[in-house]
Each structure stands twice: as C-alpha cells, then as structure tokens.
Symmetry: D2
Subunit: 284 residues, 4 copies
C-alpha cells in the first residue's frame, strides 16, 4: 500500500476540491483524510489530503509528475507531496538545558515521534552523556563571536551530509543567522519561553516577574530573520501567582516549554503545518 | 446564493469523497468546507460539507431528491441536508436558575447565535420577567408527580405548534420522559454540572466536595433514556482547592455550566454535531 | 459578632505575625484567616487577616485607633481595616457592549457579589433598558473630545454623592483621565481584551489575528496613568486556531472578558488584593 | 540558621494561631510562612508554618519536646515538625513505562526536587539502563501471583534499610497490598490515568474512548486499601476530540501523567500536604 500526503495552497477559486479528489479517484486512490481552510482576508485556499493506493505500481516521483501535469498549472498550486513511509530527518540543536532534550528523546524512544534523529549538536558538551545514553551521535561545535560563521558552515555541512529535513532548537540559546535560515525556510523550529508576542528576546521570565503577570507561557515558532517574530506553531500557558519567584517561574515554564516544543515537532513531522504570510495553518 | 450543509455517515468504503465532491461540481456547486472522520473501530465514515451555488435555480427539496437518486443508495448514506438560510428553532426549558438563561439570551441578543427562540418554558414562573425583558414568549407549565404526563403533552403541543427543531434544558431540573425523547432523538441538549461520567445524578457538587477532587466540571450532552449517559457534546473543567466550600463549588461551576452549554448550542445550531453509537463527532 | 479584615504591608522584619496575632488575642479576637507573603526582591512583608470578635463592644473606628497606637508606628505598617458587614459600593461604567454588564448583574442578582451597585453610568444610552430591568439607576453622560473634562467632573460628583468605593470599567471604551485616577488610585478596574503585556491599546483582536497567535486572552487590571500598564489582577486565555476569523476571536474573547472581569471584581470587593510596585498580591 | 516546618490539625477553637505564633516568638523564631484552613463541615483547623531561628542552639528533637509540652495537650494537636535541612528519602517503583521515570529523574538532576532517591525498584528489568545512566541503584524484584507476599517483604526490607520516607508508584502497574500501605499510610503516591472518580481501575483510556468524553485526565493520590479511592493530591486534564484513537489518548495522557505526578511529588516532599477524612489540604 502506498500512502501520500498532499499539501496545497493557491488563490481561492471554484472546483479545487472536486478536481483534486477526482484526480485521486481516477488514479485508484482512496482518500482517507481531507481538510481545507480558506483565508478570507487574503482569499487563499489551503488543503491537506491523505490518499492510499492499493498497489506499488508507481513511484512517488512519477505520481508527482502526473499531478504536476494534470492540475498544478491549471490552478496555480503551491504544493508539496510526501510518501508517508518516508520519515523526516530532524537535527536537534541543544546547549546546556536538558529538559526539552529528555522530553524529546523519551518520546522518540517510545515510538511516539514519526521521525529520525541522525544527530544532536551543541555549542557545549554538557549534554553529551544524554545523547550517548540514547545512542544518538553527538557533535560538539563551540560558538564564539569570532567563530560563529565558521561554526555555522560546519553545521551546514553536517546537516547536508545527513540529509536533514528540519532543525529543532531545543533551548539552543544561540541566535541562528541567515546562513541557516535561508537553507531551511520554515524548517527551523524554536521554543521561546513566553507567550509571544509578549516578552520578546532575552530573559522573558524576568520580564514576566517584573510585570506581575498572572499567566506565563511558551511559544514554538519557525525561525525567521526577525527575532521571535516567525510563524507561531503552538502556544500554551500556565497560571502563576505573586508567590512565584523568578526561579519558580523558570521551573514552571520548563513544563510548558517541553510539551509545547514536542507538540510542534509532532505537527511538523506529520506534515500538518502550512505557512503563509508569517502565520501557520495547522491541520488536525 | 444558495448554501447547503450536508452531513453523511455510512460504512467506510472507497470513493465516497470523490463521488460527493464530483456531484457538487456537476451541479455547479463550490465546496467551501469539507471535513471527514473515520471511526476505525467501527469502520464508519462521517463527512460534513458546505457548498455554495451561484443561482437560486433549485429548491432545497429538489436538490435533496437529486442527491438521493444519485448517491444515497449506492453508498448506503445516512444523511441530512440543510439550507444555510434556514435557522433552526430552539425551545428553552428553564426552572429557577438564571445564569444559563442570561448567558444564552445575551448571546442571542448580540447576534452570536444562529437560531431562533420561539419561546421559553418553565415549571416555575420565577424567570418570567427575564423572558419579558428580552421580549420572548414565556409559558409556565407546572409539573408535579401527578401531572407530569399531562404537562409533557402540553409541552409537545407547544413544540409542535412552533415547529421546534431542538430543545435546550438550561438547568431545567426535571427528568424528561421518553414521550419527549422519542420525538426529539439527539435533539434535547442538557447541561450536567459535573465532568461526566463522574458524579452522575443529583447534587454532583456535593459529591465532588466529599470526594475531595481538585477539578470540577460541566458536561453538555444529548438526553437519552439512561440518566446522564447520553452522547457528550462539550465538557470543560476548572481547578478548585480544599478551600472551596460546596457553595463556592456551585458558584465556580455556574461559570462552567453557562459557557459549556452555550458552546454546545452553537455546535448543534451550526449543524456541526453527528451522533453514532452514543458518541459525538464534532466538526470544526 | 464583629468581623474585621486587616491588610498590612511594611518592610520585612521579625515578629510581625506574632505581634499582630497577639494583639488580636489580647482583644479577645479569634483569627479565622491569616495569610502572608514576602517579596524577597524588595524585602516587603504583606499580610491579610480576618478576625472575629464575640461582642459588639467596640466600633470599627475605636478598634482602628487601638491598632494604630499599639503597632503601626512600631513596625511602620501601611494598613487598611474593614468591617466585614460593610459592603463596598461599586460604580459600573459601560458603553455599548453588554456581555460584561449582563454577567456582572446576573451575579449581583444571585447574591454572588459582596457589594452594592448604586448606579450604572454610560456615555451612550444603549444599555439603559438593561439597567432598568435590573432596577439600577442609570446615568447617561455623553463624552466628546470637547466635553471630556466637563463629563468627568459630572462623574466625580456622582461618585462622591453615592460614596462610591471603587469603579469598574465594563468595556467602557473611553480613556479615563488623571482627574479620576488620582481620586481612585488602584480603585478603577478595567478589562483589557488581550493577555497583557501583549497587544496593548486599541483593537487587540485584530493584532492577535495578524500575528497568528494560538491563544487569546483577557486581562483585568487597575487603571494607571500609562495605558494598559497598571497592576494586573486576573488573566485568562483560550486556545484558538487559524480557522478563527477576527469576528470569531471577538466572540470567543467575550467569554474570557466577562469571567476575568467578574473574578477581578470579586477579589477586589472581598479585599483580597494588595498593590505594591505596580504589581498585585492576591490572597486566596 | 535553623528552619522548621510545622503541620498541625485539631478541633477548631479560639487562639490557636496566636498561641503558636507567640510560642515561636518566645523561642526567638521568625515566622516566614503561615497559612491555615478551617474545614467548616467537620470543624477542623489545619495550619502550616515555617519558622527560622537565628542560632543552632537547639536540636530539632529538643524543640519538638518543648513544643509538645507547651501546646500540644492544651489544644489537642495532631502535628508533625520537620527540619528544613533534612530532605525526605523517596523510593521510586516502576514497571515498564518510562515517561514518568524520565520526567522525575530529569527534574531530580536539575535540582528541582527537594528530596533524595536512594533507589529505583521494578518488577521488570526493562528500565535498569535508565537508572544506570542517572547513577541510581536499581533493584529488580519480580512479582508473580505466587511470589507477591515474598516480593513485598523484600521491598519492605529495602525500604527500611534505606530509611525511606515515602514511595512513588511511577506507573508501577501492580496493586500494592496492606503490608506496605500500613507501614506507609498516606506516604505512597500513585498516578492514575484518569480524572478520578471517573474510570476507576484498569484501562481508563479504553473506557474514556468508549464513553466519548471530550476531556481526559490524570490524578495523583495516596494509596489506600480501596482501589483508586485514596486522598487526591493533584489532578489535571486535557481536551480531546472524536478524532483521538485509544493510542492517541494514551499518548496525550502520558503528558498529563508525568506532570501531575511530578507536581504531587513536589507538594509531598515540601511538606505541603495534609490528609484528613480521605481528603487533602494542599498549602501553597
């Protein structure tokens, strides 16, 4: 059985759904999931579809070509098609905090994540023993102001040689430059420890303490050139009170960070996220 | 512009989506919403679809006939089709509590609810002045053990004469008999003041207090013969602590009850709920 | 039975709790509630205490004097003492939105709020009929750019003549000037329709839509000179998705606004809020 | 600096707070935390107090004796007093699931937990490598129907020889008998994967699926003789939909289980939990 996932967006116009579902039927496909969204402000149509095929008669490449010729020009689709069997490859960037790392690797081990982790990379070697205990290769690439560009070139080499599909910054604590962003547009997932757009930048828990907020949050988003301003994938919050010290906020926040980041990873790995106009459409 | 909403369920089988979307396209319809769900345990397919038609060329009745002949027998659909212009008519049953009533009428007034409220009915006359201030007819039908059947027959008459589509028990505090349930299957919405299936029956806040739970809840569900065991439409909870007296739990619970019930009403009125095997499928 | 509520803050120092509880014991008081908080950054001690006295032997005024002489200078207390029997008087300022108004008046009617509402005031007369149906005096004081100062002077007169203790802006939609703020410091409660400090100012739901956030919120805070920057009393949020239009966000937000504002009112009316350094301490 | 934590409950009566705070003052103690609760149904007074002493002049034992003689008989206190320096010792019982284990050990490693873990015990050896990687002794004591009593006697020996203060069943999956419960009353913490009292017993996610609930939950409670009926420490829930398979419910539930259990552990280890009449009082 072949199974494909198709993501489409284009200007909204009549007959898109009927045409696509018809195309699948004509190719003996059985649609097992379909969902769509129309952005009425911008008049953009989004669709996600999963389709099963009884035989292995065609390759994903030839089916892509078929689809391209039949419909893409006609409707002006921007589109991606994935074979469900092929798991995306994810690179994990970490620094010294281990809570997100443990959470991700625990899920990875239990089979909850539909992806592969070819390696973990860090600017420090503090977390190497965790990578070792999960038997995942660990690369230590220190970053200083002077060596930043050089370090990123090394990172790019590693990413390329392992055919990495997307990158997760699991509290990596370094600003990633355009060198990487341009190669991985909407494919670098960060976890920011506040409910964005509140408390952009460094030390959000300190700012939250100072402002006296009654909720704290965490936000997972794609990295763009502007700091903490990329498309938001997932957010969650927790209630806090005046009795929370900054240390308490940080501890409480760790629980948010790890679960919000892991949820964002699952959404991305399952190809449920589309990005348009610096916002995300998240399919269920 | 005509707009229809179509709800279908049937045994899961290939080509349903393509066939239905094709049918709409052939009739010059433009699908503006489609979502589906497959219950893999029971192998049942569910679909909700909204479709717009450029002209007023056909009536909803003739289009229903067209659909019936083209597809229903072939796939064995159970189905409902609604004209989007026709708002459902909702009867409100209340007793002495006013928080749900105020919440519903406030939303109704502000245009948030896509429905009509031909009348409010109560076994007491305490809330008549509220109905008056919102200019909605109020019927007072007292219920005693002896007069229960007679009262329900009067209710049925009122429901029939106003062409009521569904009934909402906004803390009505009376057990509704099969006389009504059989006429309005999966069309009588109740609000129960606990997170079902915990604390079935009377005085759930007292039971919650005694058990020492740290969360309380509210559940909106369709009434069935078995008490508090019907299909769940919506649930929500709030955190509480040892410091809450029963009176505090009741006050906190009121906030849950009114919002959970109003959400369930909106889902039902917007034809987003399907029922199968005593469970609901809720479309977004 | 007399019952008093005492709120204290001062520099943190030894023996405060023992001295105050001892004072109450010596005056034949029985403490039925005590809670304290220490702000370790600023080294400030906060305490809230409720104490019952068997007889009506003393007036609240004479007991205040007793307390002043015994302890206030010694520890340098900033303090307030209330007789529990005396309900605070709250003025309600509204404009055209009715959801917060209905929510507050529904609770007021049911006895949930420990306060009196001498009047409702508005710059429009749209909501007069609601005030009428709840039998609460309604004053219509229009506000234009030119008449703003004059209108506020009229408001002050009304507030004074009714001995108002605190003001609630239930979606009043007007910026309140220092004329009122200075007379009612930390006594004017506003509801802002975002999770502050995100989306300060006008049209926060529009900004939330544009940013593509996955949660929206509401914040109740005391009005200060700086817009939407006063001490936060209560916040809550709800999850939303890409499928929410601005209109949907506004509707969902109404549920947050009314419950967050009503909770803040209850906290203030029950004398559970202390303000220090633009932040609140909220006692349970 | 000595610091003690004192937990008291007794019949409610006048002057308890003043007497205790006075006692601390007379012994040159400075109260840094005080909170109390009165169960008005049962007329029981509860208090938690933290007090600092400038010198190391007395041992905790002699201070306990002092307190016993001064106040305990007079008021009829049930009480516990702890030296803040002494961390409680916690035994971790696990089986094959690793998500709670990783979560607890991650927090333990980061210094978030104020306790010691002398050993991890399991009826299977699957998780030994995790214990090894965190450098915590691991004991494998298999349990079969026939060997259950023998196994529990071995467990008791281990618990005694390590001076264990409380036990955490981190998805241990075995019913613990009275042999252990009697030795550790209100000191064995379990995590049940439902919002109790709904779905008591085995396979709660399967029951939740069958009932079609819209929220799932997790409950941490002390083990008592009756299954899943002990005093509740902490609960939390998450929203789910019809689209969740049983497998999805289980995965979502894991996130609740680990955070609810870790929160309960923190509350217990910080001596913030009191038990009375099969319910808990949780101090902040």
């Amino acid at each position: 059985m072949n199974k494909i996932t198709l993501l489409i967006h284009c200007d909204d116009q009549p007959n898109i759904i009927a045409s696509v579902t018809n195309f699948m039927a004509l190719n003996n496909g059985n649609i097992v999931y379909i969902d769509q969204h129309v952005d009425r402000e911008q008049n953009i149509f989004f669709m996600r579809l999963e389709c099963e095929f009884a035989s292995n008669a065609f390759s994903i490449e030839s089916f892509k070509e078929l689809f391209q010729n039949a419909l893409v020009d006609k409707f002006g689709f921007e589109w991606r098609m994935y074979s469900a069997e092929k798991k995306p490859k994810m690179a994990l960037f970490v620094s010294k905090y281990d809570h997100c790392l443990y959470d991700i690797l625990g899920r990875y081990n239990s089979g909850e994540l539909n992806l592969e982790i070819p390696f973990i990379l860090s600017n420090h070697d503090d977390l190497k023993s965790i990578a070792d205990s999960f038997k995942i290769p660990f690369y230590h690439i220190p970053v200083t102001k002077e060596t930043k560009k050089e370090a990123e070139l090394k990172q790019l080499e590693l990413l390329k040689s392992h055919n990495i599909d997307f990158i997760v910054l699991a509290r990596y604590m370094q600003i990633v430059s355009n060198l990487l962003i341009d190669k991985y547009p909407n494919k670098i997932i960060n976890i920011h420890h506040s409910f964005l757009p509140a408390f952009v930048g460094a030390k959000p828990y300190h700012s939250a303490y100072k402002r006296g907020v009654k909720i704290i949050g965490a936000t997972s988003h794609y990295i763009t050139e502007e700091l903490d301003a990329g498309p938001i994938i997932e957010q969650d919050v927790a209630h806090v009170s005046h009795s929370y010290s900054i240390k308490d906020l940080i501890a409480k926040g760790r629980d948010l960070e790890k679960i919000v980041l892991s949820n964002a990873i699952k959404l991305h790995a399952n190809r449920k996220v589309m990005v348009f106009d610096n916002k995300t459409v998240i399919f269920s």
